[in-house]
Symmetry: C2
Subunit: 279 residues, 2 copies
């Protein structure tokens, strides 16, 4: 450790964690240092670039508040959030795939009855949703708890609209019936940009990336004996399906609306919950 | 990009930077995403660990202020700062090696004459320093500008001692004479801990690492035709030479004090400046 150079330093740092009493923390910190150094060596990071990185991370931390998490946004646009979901929520073949949770879930959504209009005045084109919750064997899962949330026609979630205060709309906690079926009315979701007024927005701008997410409705579905499912349904035809700013799209989650010649468009989908696995 | 999983996501993210107009930024962001994903896959990062990481980075950013840079401290303890220095300041054989700059340099140090007492009242054991500034060929470099700064006997730099206000001590801007020689009096440096009252201190504590840096004096030396040198001299025998919290030690920078039977200890060293290279 007295002969630090650009090659020996990595071993010096990983060795410094050898006294860590928590073996998992030791593994994580050693691997973090190793990959961080590999990155810096590969790109031959200059001192100016290092300082730019320090400033970027500082501004990202300072943009965070009670209602804003800029580091999660950074993780999202670098694909780390979706990678973490994909690793921790791999589903068996046939089960509905998971995607990112996102920052707009709130635990106090209104409890709505089967058939309710959960839009509750949120602006947008009406949409009738008719879904089923099934097991891996294709059998109905009765009485699953289904949380739904989405943006309105302006691309905003209720929690982003200051004027709404604590008012909740275009979100609900529902229950499927004894046959696993659930119907509700909401609005057709639209594409929207992630917040761009912070360092992550600057990063996207500087790197020629747009901030848009394709239109989607969030679902979180829970039932005894099944793995909790956190996912979205995306709308077929959305222009951002191939360039989601947070890399959340899976082709199995893209659905096509039925648009009758007259009347309200509708969305049908079967969710398949994976069996709970013993710890 | 509609089939994101834990393998395909890395290509999706690196491709998202293909439209970046700045080729260097594209290279850096693509490599960053690739190494970040490799890290997460290697350790099989859980969602809980991911959230712990988000919180750690947020707290690190929020600890930063006008007078505190917690992200630089994090870079220091992960060895990234020293790696960046090592890559960008590789010296030819025989030239004095560089080490970390540190956060305690200030541009308004007092200008002191050859032979001055630069301690200016800072508590500590007196030390006489007698150094030469040489070229790669071993010839004296006349009139080099030499900036010196160090901690006092309490392990504190003047800028850390609130009561001092703008008072500067144990730091100076000096000039070597026509023969490249410079003498001054200061104090014997002591080992000190890096700040531990923030997230980086918690990280060190949780991972079983101490926060100490071995005793050292900072030097920054500039002369026409030579590369600027930013380095330390460390004291032989210091207990932290093999475990510097920021990985700054190079064996060539460890010096032994001369301690006469009576009188003031002294430090002699020849600095060798690398030739300036054409850009």
């Amino acid at each position: 450790m007295r002969n630090i150079d650009e090659r020996t330093i990595t071993e010096a740092v990983t060795r410094s964690f050898e006294g860590c009493a928590d073996p998992r923390l030791r593994t994580i910190l050693s691997a973090l240092a190793r990959h961080l150094h590999d990155f810096a060596r590969e790109v031959r990071l200059t001192e100016e670039e290092w300082m730019r990185g320090i400033r970027f991370l500082t501004e990202t931390g300072q943009k965070c508040s009670e209602v804003r998490q800029e580091f999660i946004l950074l993780s999202d646009v670098l694909g780390l959030s979706m990678l973490t979901i994909a690793m921790n929520h791999a589903k068996p073949p046939g089960a509905t795939e998971a995607t990112v949770f996102g920052p707009f879930y709130v635990p106090d959504a209104p409890e709505c009855a089967d058939g309710a209009d959960i839009a509750r005045g949120a602006p947008g084109e009406p949409l009738d949703v008719d879904v089923r919750v099934l097991s891996e064997e294709g059998r109905p899962v009765p009485h699953a708890r289904v949380d739904v949330w989405q943006a309105d026609d302006d691309g905003l979630y209720d929690v982003q609209v200051d004027a709404l205060g604590q008012q909740r709309r275009a979100r609900a906690t529902l229950r499927a019936d004894g046959d696993g079926r659930l119907r509700f009315r909401t609005i057709v979701p639209v594409a929207y940009p992630i917040p761009t007024d912070g360092p992550v927005g600057e990063l996207l701008g500087a790197s020629g990336r747009h901030p848009w997410r394709p239109a989607h409705i969030h679902f979180m579905i829970e039932a005894p004996g099944c793995q909790k499912l956190v996912t979205h349904l995306f709308l077929d035809g959305d222009r951002y399906l191939d360039s989601d700013a947070v890399f959340g799209v899976r082709s199995s989650l893209v659905v096509r609306l039925e648009r009758p010649a007259s009347g309200v468009p509708s969305l049908h989908h079967d969710f398949v919950l994976a069996r709970e696995v013993a710890a």
